[in-house]
Subunit: 157 residues, 2 copies
């Protein structure tokens, strides 16, 4: 099954968190499960905060990439078209907030679940939880905006 991120155009698929073309990246992959967007990720032993617990930077990175992926998927849905149709949607993060509710144990698979709060023009707001088993350990909100043309490759510094 293709993930949201599999629909990113090749030239925009290098993200460290979720780009399929980034060899050193995390390769996060997100899918619809009904109205929920879901992704699963098992951290590496070095994704550590302190022994036994997952690094908060990784947690936020996963929430961020899941959020922007969901934003694109939600934008296609709002337009009533499939993700393999043109033009492609590709969102970037305007802001995010993450609450670390409790330490996240290092070892088990992490499950991200996201819900779309709003789709307004070029802006999509989503809520994402990160869970281990039945326990939600972090909760985030991502405000994503359609990638501005100024970020396209031809404009890169």
């Amino acid at each position: 099954m293709k993930a949201f991120q599999d629909y990113y155009p090749d030239e925009l698929a290098h993200c460290f968190g979720c780009g399929r073309l980034n060899e050193q990246g995390h390769h996060l992959r997100s899918f619809w499960v009904g109205e929920t967007a879901e992704a699963r990720f098992t951290p590496e032993p070095f994704h550590i905060a302190i022994p036994g617990w997952v690094n908060g930077g990784l947690i936020t990175s996963l929430i961020d990439c899941h959020g922007t992926g969901m934003a694109a998927a939600a934008a296609y849905r709002a337009e009533g078209r499939e993700m393999d149709t043109l033009p492609p949607h590709r969102f970037v993060t305007a802001s995010l907030r993450v609450d670390y509710l409790r330490p996240t144990p290092l070892g088990p698979e992490l499950v991200l679940r996201g819900h779309v709060r709003s789709v307004t023009g070029r802006k999509v707001v989503v809520e994402v939880t990160l869970s281990v088993g039945e326990e939600v350990t972090a909760r985030g909100e991502v405000v994503a905006v359609e990638m501005p043309n100024s970020m396209r490759t031809s404009s890169a510094p």
Copy 2:
């Protein structure tokens, strides 16, 4: 010169973002420059969002680790003692918020500058900016709390 993170006890110095004992980590190192806490970091080519621009997850990870490092340093200062005295301070993140003001170009050194907003009991709130040259590209707020005993190694899952 020793960084804030160099004072973390060995058993708490494995953080992916700033732990000196994490071989795969980013090894962020933070210092006082007067009342400002400063850290510098040059991303790797794979720390990419889309070609030409730095990954937002990395940006937040740097802000996060700089924030918790600053929190520890501020706690020592508030107590009027040096960072090599006992007991050691080690903070974790309760919540953070990051605004990505503009895309951050990939290549140049990034400079993090932090200011302490408040130190109250076990909680420290800091503000951090991330700059490239003279331009601030991201701004964050980190609410850090002294690491609870439940996160100590002996309690890890």
